[in-house]
């Protein structure tokens, strides 16, 4: 999060070599693979927030490569990391934070160094029409509003704590939600006046929810790292997917979903 320059560099490297980390052999095999195109099934473990974009990118990849099937396992990053350390077979892991990625790299499961491919910032989600007139992060200190934040145990909650601390605001939430989706449900139902969630979640929630960007969000940009796995059953397919994510096409799709370039 704090090393954005490095992250940008990494994503460039990623586009060239996957997360092979400059392994010449891997690059060669990528080139070779593109001649005939990858086939078989590629299994991607991805953070739940990537569901819509990755599903779309997966379909494009399947269209471009006849004989390739992209299969996803979307879940919370920590659940995915646990599954991987327990030996779940996968080709690619896309985490919503560095911490869960390091669980996987520490276990020696990653093929090379992970690279940051996109980022997410917090936004204030309010019900359509913003009935409580929320304007900025400062409103989270107002006792009379019904407010939701993410629980400190989950990534968006940790990020929220960071922005509150940086802004010097003592939040007065009524509930600490177990995940972003739960927080958004309450916004959609109009049961809370505002919730602090990620920009992508606001986009995904559609018309029932409005997003309010706020400057303090820059204090907690959440980077998404990605890697192929050392034990990948389909390394060629894995690289093809990683390349697509790093490509201009992939980055545009991510931006449309509310993500921003790392």
């Amino acid at each position: 999060m704090r090393q954005r320059a490095a992250a940008v560099l990494a994503v460039v490297a990623l586009a060239a070599t996957g997360c092979g980390g400059g392994d010449g052999g891997a690059a060669a095999s990528t080139a070779e693979g593109s001649a005939s195109g990858p086939t078989g099934t590629v299994t991607v473990f991805a953070a739940a927030s990537l569901t819509d974009v990755f599903t779309e990118l997966g379909q494009r990849l399947e269209e471009e490569n006849v004989g390739l099937t992209v299969q996803f396992n979307f879940a919370g990053s920590s659940a995915l990391a646990t599954q991987l350390t327990q030996g779940a077979p996968a080709d690619v892991f896309a985490s919503a934070n560095a911490a869960q990625m390091s669980v996987v790299t520490d276990a020696g499961l990653a093929d090379g160094e992970p690279a940051v491919f996109t980022a997410n910032v917090l936004q204030i989600a309010v019900p359509a029409g913003n009935p409580a007139g929320v304007t900025g992060l400062g409103d989270f200190g107002r006792e009379e509003l019904t407010l939701a934040v993410c629980a400190p145990e989950v990534p968006c909650g940790a990020a929220s704590e960071d922005v509150f601390a940086a802004a010097g605001i003592t939040p007065r939430p009524d509930t600490q939600e177990e995940d972003v989706r739960a927080a958004l449900t309450k916004v959609e139902l109009g049961e809370v006046d505002a919730a602090l969630v990620y920009a992508t979640d606001v986009v995904a929630a559609g018309d029932a929810v409005e997003g309010i960007a706020f400057p303090e969000a820059e204090d907690a940009v959440n980077d998404y790292p990605l890697c192929t796995l050392a034990a990948a059953p389909n390394p060629e397919g894995a690289r093809a997917f990683v390349d697509l994510v790093g490509s201009e096409e992939g980055q545009q799709a991510l931006e449309a979903a509310g993500f921003r370039a790392p």
Partner: protein
């Protein structure tokens, strides 16, 4: 009492069932970080969550008994036409994913809900994100267990005792209080225990309708779930605490209360 040998066709599946139920528990015990137990247990919030769990589960059970026993009576005894439909409706919370149940509670009791909006306008009271909401969510999910169990007891009880009471001058309410209820007391107790246990472990409807805030709405299952996000070891310890408390409570009640009922 004479003991007979259990026939093998029963013994083998029974043993499998025990293994199936107990092994995950053993897994928890094996993985428990015993050395850190003290630190994890005395961590702030654990006692609070535990107290909140026990209090709200007990309140939910009380509400369930007060409302559920009469409902069970209606299901078992009344000759009203829509009884089959009513029974099906009662079991809805059993099959509904609890999170959906929580959303449904919002739609009725939330501040935008059918009743909730009226309540907020007239009294200024909003229910979600309060301890009352925890009790309501737990009651919603756990009451069917009590209702079904008491209805079974009522169907099993000899209705002719109620006839006898009527010939002794007891109206239906007196009969219910002085004859029917004492007759089905073991069934009510068993149902209350089931209901309490279910309420104690309730997660989905609670976290949806009541949210999660330490001290007000964060019960043990919520604390366990969130601990699992950050520190699985702590989650194991918390689960163990919940387990010990519930098993201890049930055993205590059984000795004190159910045991006597069964002997009579």
């Amino acid at each position: 009492m004479r003991r007979e040998r259990t026939p093998a066709p029963l013994l083998v599946p029974a043993a499998l069932a025990v293994a199936f139920l107990v092994l995950p528990l053993a897994g928890l015990l094996v993985r428990t970080p015993w050395s850190q137990l003290g630190t994890l247990l005395t961590a702030p919030g654990v006692g609070q969550a535990l107290r909140l769990s026990v209090v709200s589960a007990t309140l939910a059970t009380l509400v369930s008994v007060v409302l559920g026993v009469p409902l069970a009576w209606v299901l078992a005894r009344s000759r009203a036409r829509g009884r089959a439909v009513l029974r099906a409706l009662v079991t809805v919370p059993l099959v509904l994913p609890p999170v959906v149940g929580g959303v449904a509670l919002f739609l009725v009791l939330g501040r935008q809900g059918i009743l909730g909006s009226w309540l907020a306008e007239t009294t200024g009271i909003t229910i979600p994100f309060t301890t009352a909401a925890v009790v309501i969510a737990e009651t919603f999910v756990a009451m069917p267990f009590l209702v079904i169990s008491v209805e079974g007891a009522l169907r099993g009880a000899d209705a002719r005792f109620e006839d006898a009471a009527a010939t002794l001058g007891a109206d239906r309410w007196t009969t219910f209080r002085r004859v029917t209820l004492p007759l089905v007391a073991p069934g009510v107790a068993a149902g209350a225990v089931l209901c309490w246990a279910r309420a104690l472990g309730e997660f989905g409807a609670t976290i949806t309708f009541a949210g999660n805030f330490p001290g007000t709405t964060q019960t043990m299952p919520l604390a366990v779930y969130l601990a699992l996000q950050r520190d699985p070891q702590a989650a194991i310890v918390l689960s163990l605490v919940l387990l010990v408390v519930s098993v201890a409570t049930l055993l205590l009640l059984r000795d004190r209360w159910l045991g006597r009922g069964a002997a009579a």
